[in-house]
Amino acid sequence: MSKNLEMQTEQKIIGNTLWIKVPQELDHHSADQICREADRLVRERDIGEITFDFSDTVFCDSSGIGMLMGRYKMMKALGGTVRAVQVGERVGKILMLSGIRKIIQVEQKAGGKTE
Protein backbone atom coordinates (compact mmCIF):
# COMPACT_ATOMS: atom_id res chain seq x y z
CA MET A 1 0.00 0.00 0.00
CA SER A 2 2.61 2.52 0.97
CA LYS A 3 6.33 2.94 1.08
CA ASN A 4 6.81 1.64 4.59
CA LEU A 5 6.23 -1.89 3.32
CA GLU A 6 9.47 -1.61 1.39
CA MET A 7 12.27 -3.79 2.56
CA GLN A 8 14.51 -2.97 5.45
CA THR A 9 16.93 -5.59 4.23
CA GLU A 10 20.51 -4.57 3.81
CA GLN A 11 22.46 -5.66 0.79
CA LYS A 12 25.67 -4.85 -0.96
CA ILE A 13 27.68 -6.03 -3.90
CA ILE A 14 31.30 -6.90 -3.20
CA GLY A 15 33.17 -7.92 -6.33
CA ASN A 16 30.69 -10.23 -8.03
CA THR A 17 29.10 -11.36 -4.79
CA LEU A 18 25.67 -10.10 -3.80
CA TRP A 19 25.60 -10.04 0.00
CA ILE A 20 22.16 -9.98 1.58
CA LYS A 21 21.50 -9.48 5.25
CA VAL A 22 18.47 -11.62 6.07
CA PRO A 23 16.06 -9.91 8.51
CA GLN A 24 15.31 -11.21 12.01
CA GLU A 25 12.25 -13.03 10.80
CA LEU A 26 12.31 -14.76 7.43
CA ASP A 27 8.77 -15.64 6.37
CA HIS A 28 6.65 -15.39 3.22
CA HIS A 29 6.33 -11.63 3.72
CA SER A 30 10.04 -10.83 4.06
CA ALA A 31 11.19 -13.60 1.68
CA ASP A 32 9.07 -12.12 -1.12
CA GLN A 33 10.73 -8.74 -0.68
CA ILE A 34 14.22 -10.22 -0.66
CA CYS A 35 13.54 -12.34 -3.75
CA ARG A 36 12.26 -9.37 -5.74
CA GLU A 37 15.29 -7.28 -4.86
CA ALA A 38 17.83 -10.08 -5.35
CA ASP A 39 16.39 -11.06 -8.72
CA ARG A 40 16.48 -7.47 -9.91
CA LEU A 41 20.15 -7.10 -8.93
CA VAL A 42 21.10 -10.42 -10.52
CA ARG A 43 19.43 -9.27 -13.76
CA GLU A 44 21.08 -5.88 -13.76
CA ARG A 45 24.53 -6.65 -12.44
CA ASP A 46 27.18 -9.29 -12.95
CA ILE A 47 26.58 -11.52 -9.94
CA GLY A 48 28.38 -14.85 -9.51
CA GLU A 49 27.40 -15.61 -5.94
CA ILE A 50 24.64 -14.71 -3.53
CA THR A 51 25.61 -14.83 0.15
CA PHE A 52 22.72 -14.81 2.58
CA ASP A 53 23.88 -13.59 5.97
CA PHE A 54 21.66 -15.03 8.72
CA SER A 55 23.46 -13.47 11.70
CA ASP A 56 20.36 -11.55 12.84
CA THR A 57 17.81 -14.21 11.91
CA VAL A 58 15.96 -16.01 14.69
CA PHE A 59 12.90 -17.15 12.74
CA CYS A 60 12.62 -18.98 9.43
CA ASP A 61 9.81 -21.02 7.93
CA SER A 62 9.36 -22.92 4.67
CA SER A 63 9.11 -19.66 2.73
CA GLY A 64 12.77 -19.10 3.60
CA ILE A 65 13.55 -22.51 2.14
CA GLY A 66 11.61 -21.57 -1.00
CA MET A 67 13.65 -18.37 -1.23
CA LEU A 68 16.95 -20.26 -1.01
CA MET A 69 15.86 -22.95 -3.46
CA GLY A 70 14.65 -20.38 -5.96
CA ARG A 71 17.89 -18.35 -5.79
CA TYR A 72 19.89 -21.59 -6.04
CA LYS A 73 18.09 -22.57 -9.26
CA MET A 74 18.54 -19.10 -10.72
CA MET A 75 22.25 -18.90 -9.87
CA LYS A 76 22.89 -22.45 -11.03
CA ALA A 77 21.41 -21.57 -14.43
CA LEU A 78 23.86 -18.65 -14.58
CA GLY A 79 26.80 -20.78 -13.47
CA GLY A 80 26.89 -19.16 -10.04
CA THR A 81 26.44 -20.24 -6.44
CA VAL A 82 24.45 -19.50 -3.29
CA ARG A 83 25.72 -19.64 0.29
CA ALA A 84 24.04 -19.27 3.67
CA VAL A 85 26.38 -17.98 6.37
CA GLN A 86 26.23 -17.10 10.09
CA VAL A 87 23.38 -19.54 10.54
CA GLY A 88 22.16 -19.81 14.14
CA GLU A 89 20.70 -22.82 15.92
CA ARG A 90 17.03 -22.39 15.03
CA VAL A 91 17.56 -21.57 11.37
CA GLY A 92 20.12 -24.39 11.22
CA LYS A 93 17.45 -26.82 12.40
CA ILE A 94 15.01 -25.65 9.73
CA LEU A 95 17.65 -25.89 6.99
CA MET A 96 18.60 -29.37 8.20
CA LEU A 97 15.00 -30.55 8.18
CA SER A 98 14.47 -29.22 4.66
CA GLY A 99 17.43 -31.09 3.21
CA ILE A 100 18.64 -27.93 1.47
CA ARG A 101 22.13 -28.50 2.84
CA LYS A 102 22.56 -31.05 0.08
CA ILE A 103 22.54 -28.32 -2.54
CA ILE A 104 23.53 -25.14 -0.74
CA GLN A 105 26.63 -24.49 1.32
CA VAL A 106 25.62 -23.64 4.89
CA GLU A 107 28.03 -22.17 7.43
CA GLN A 108 26.99 -22.17 11.07
CA LYS A 109 27.55 -19.25 13.37
CA ALA A 110 30.80 -19.56 15.31
CA GLY A 111 30.26 -20.65 18.91
CA GLY A 112 27.22 -22.71 18.00
CA LYS A 113 24.83 -22.27 20.88
CA THR A 114 23.81 -18.67 20.42
CA GLU A 115 20.18 -17.49 20.55
Binding site: L5, E25, D27, H28, H29, D32, C35, F59, C60, D61, S62, S63, I65, G66, M67, M69, G70, R90, I94, L97, S98
Partner: protein, 142 residues
Protein backbone atom coordinates in the same frame (compact mmCIF):
# COMPACT_ATOMS: atom_id res chain seq x y z
CA UNK B 1 -5.79 -24.69 33.46
CA UNK B 2 -8.20 -23.89 30.68
CA UNK B 3 -8.15 -20.86 28.43
CA UNK B 4 -9.46 -19.95 25.01
CA UNK B 5 -8.96 -17.18 22.50
CA UNK B 6 -10.09 -16.27 19.04
CA UNK B 7 -8.25 -14.08 16.60
CA UNK B 8 -9.46 -12.77 13.26
CA UNK B 9 -7.34 -10.85 10.78
CA UNK B 10 -6.97 -9.99 7.11
CA UNK B 11 -5.08 -12.32 4.81
CA UNK B 12 -2.17 -9.99 4.11
CA UNK B 13 1.38 -11.24 4.43
CA UNK B 14 2.33 -8.66 7.07
CA UNK B 15 -0.11 -10.48 9.38
CA UNK B 16 1.94 -13.68 9.31
CA UNK B 17 4.25 -12.20 11.94
CA UNK B 18 1.28 -10.78 13.88
CA UNK B 19 -0.39 -14.20 14.00
CA UNK B 20 2.60 -16.17 15.23
CA UNK B 21 3.64 -13.56 17.79
CA UNK B 22 0.09 -13.41 19.16
CA UNK B 23 -0.10 -17.19 19.48
CA UNK B 24 3.31 -17.18 21.19
CA UNK B 25 1.97 -14.64 23.71
CA UNK B 26 -1.16 -16.75 24.28
CA UNK B 27 0.87 -19.88 25.05
CA UNK B 28 3.29 -18.04 27.37
CA UNK B 29 1.10 -18.96 30.36
CA UNK B 30 1.92 -22.62 29.71
CA UNK B 31 5.53 -22.02 30.66
CA UNK B 32 6.88 -23.32 27.36
CA UNK B 33 10.53 -23.79 26.50
CA UNK B 34 12.07 -21.48 23.90
CA UNK B 35 12.10 -24.38 21.50
CA UNK B 36 8.41 -25.12 21.99
CA UNK B 37 7.55 -21.50 21.29
CA UNK B 38 9.70 -21.52 18.15
CA UNK B 39 8.08 -24.78 17.00
CA UNK B 40 4.55 -23.40 17.42
CA UNK B 41 5.47 -20.11 15.75
CA UNK B 42 6.81 -21.97 12.73
CA UNK B 43 3.69 -24.15 12.46
CA UNK B 44 1.37 -21.12 12.76
CA UNK B 45 3.36 -19.26 10.15
CA UNK B 46 3.03 -22.18 7.75
CA UNK B 47 -0.72 -22.53 8.19
CA UNK B 48 -1.37 -18.78 7.90
CA UNK B 49 0.87 -18.51 4.83
CA UNK B 50 -1.04 -21.38 3.23
CA UNK B 51 -4.34 -19.59 3.88
CA UNK B 52 -2.99 -16.38 2.31
CA UNK B 53 -1.29 -17.88 -0.73
CA UNK B 54 -3.38 -20.95 -1.48
CA UNK B 55 -6.69 -20.46 0.33
CA UNK B 56 -7.32 -16.87 -0.73
CA UNK B 57 -4.81 -16.77 -3.61
CA UNK B 58 -3.71 -13.29 -2.68
CA UNK B 59 -7.20 -11.85 -2.23
CA UNK B 60 -7.90 -10.18 1.09
CA UNK B 61 -10.41 -11.96 3.31
CA UNK B 62 -10.50 -13.13 6.91
CA UNK B 63 -8.38 -15.78 8.59
CA UNK B 64 -9.31 -16.96 12.07
CA UNK B 65 -7.21 -18.66 14.70
CA UNK B 66 -8.94 -20.31 17.62
CA UNK B 67 -6.59 -21.20 20.43
CA UNK B 68 -7.33 -23.46 23.32
CA UNK B 69 -5.25 -24.42 26.30
CA UNK B 70 -6.30 -27.40 28.34
CA UNK B 71 -3.83 -28.38 31.01
CA UNK B 72 -0.59 -28.94 29.08
CA UNK B 73 -2.17 -29.23 25.66
CA UNK B 74 -2.25 -26.40 23.18
CA UNK B 75 -4.75 -26.69 20.36
CA UNK B 76 -4.85 -24.27 17.45
CA UNK B 77 -7.44 -24.15 14.72
CA UNK B 78 -6.52 -22.04 11.71
CA UNK B 79 -9.36 -21.48 9.28
CA UNK B 80 -10.03 -19.73 6.00
CA UNK B 81 -13.06 -19.59 3.72
CA UNK B 82 -10.97 -19.78 0.58
CA UNK B 83 -10.83 -22.11 -2.40
CA UNK B 84 -10.20 -25.23 -0.35
CA UNK B 85 -8.02 -28.21 -1.18
CA UNK B 86 -9.05 -30.76 -3.82
CA UNK B 87 -6.76 -33.53 -2.66
CA UNK B 88 -5.57 -33.16 0.94
CA UNK B 89 -3.35 -36.22 0.80
CA UNK B 90 -1.51 -34.84 -2.19
CA UNK B 91 -1.27 -31.36 -0.68
CA UNK B 92 0.42 -32.84 2.37
CA UNK B 93 3.04 -34.75 0.40
CA UNK B 94 6.50 -33.32 1.03
CA UNK B 95 7.73 -31.12 -1.83
CA UNK B 96 4.30 -31.01 -3.49
CA UNK B 97 3.17 -27.50 -4.31
CA UNK B 98 0.16 -26.37 -6.29
CA UNK B 99 1.96 -23.12 -7.06
CA UNK B 100 5.47 -23.92 -8.34
CA UNK B 101 5.57 -20.54 -10.08
CA UNK B 102 5.59 -18.90 -6.65
CA UNK B 103 8.72 -20.78 -5.57
CA UNK B 104 6.98 -22.51 -2.75
CA UNK B 105 9.18 -25.16 -1.19
CA UNK B 106 6.32 -27.61 -0.69
CA UNK B 107 7.39 -28.05 2.93
CA UNK B 108 4.65 -26.21 4.77
CA UNK B 109 2.74 -29.26 5.97
CA UNK B 110 6.00 -31.11 6.58
CA UNK B 111 7.05 -28.40 9.03
CA UNK B 112 3.63 -28.34 10.71
CA UNK B 113 3.87 -32.10 11.19
CA UNK B 114 7.46 -31.91 12.38
CA UNK B 115 6.84 -29.22 14.98
CA UNK B 116 3.42 -30.17 16.32
CA UNK B 117 2.32 -33.47 17.87
CA UNK B 118 -0.75 -33.81 15.76
CA UNK B 119 -2.27 -32.11 12.73
CA UNK B 120 -5.61 -32.59 11.02
CA UNK B 121 -6.64 -30.90 7.82
CA UNK B 122 -10.21 -30.68 6.63
CA UNK B 123 -11.24 -28.87 3.50
CA UNK B 124 -14.00 -28.57 0.97
CA UNK B 125 -13.35 -27.10 -2.47
CA UNK B 126 -15.05 -23.72 -2.64
CA UNK B 127 -15.70 -23.55 1.09
CA UNK B 128 -12.36 -23.30 2.78
CA UNK B 129 -9.81 -25.11 4.88
CA UNK B 130 -9.40 -25.79 8.58
CA UNK B 131 -6.12 -26.94 10.06
CA UNK B 132 -6.20 -28.22 13.63
CA UNK B 133 -2.86 -28.67 15.36
CA UNK B 134 -2.08 -29.94 18.84
CA UNK B 135 1.03 -29.93 20.95
CA UNK B 136 1.83 -30.86 24.52
CA UNK B 137 3.72 -28.00 26.15
CA UNK B 138 5.98 -27.80 29.18
CA UNK B 139 6.93 -31.46 29.27
CA UNK B 140 10.57 -30.48 29.59
CA UNK B 141 10.55 -30.84 33.38
CA UNK B 142 10.28 -28.21 36.10
Amino acid sequence: MKNEMKLEFDSISANEAFARVTVAAFMAQMNPSMEEVADVKTAVSEAVTNAIIHGYQGEIHKITISGRIEEQQLQLEIADQGVGIQDIKKAMEPLYTSRPELERSGMGFLFMEAFMDEIQVSSKPGEGTVVVMKKMIGQHGA
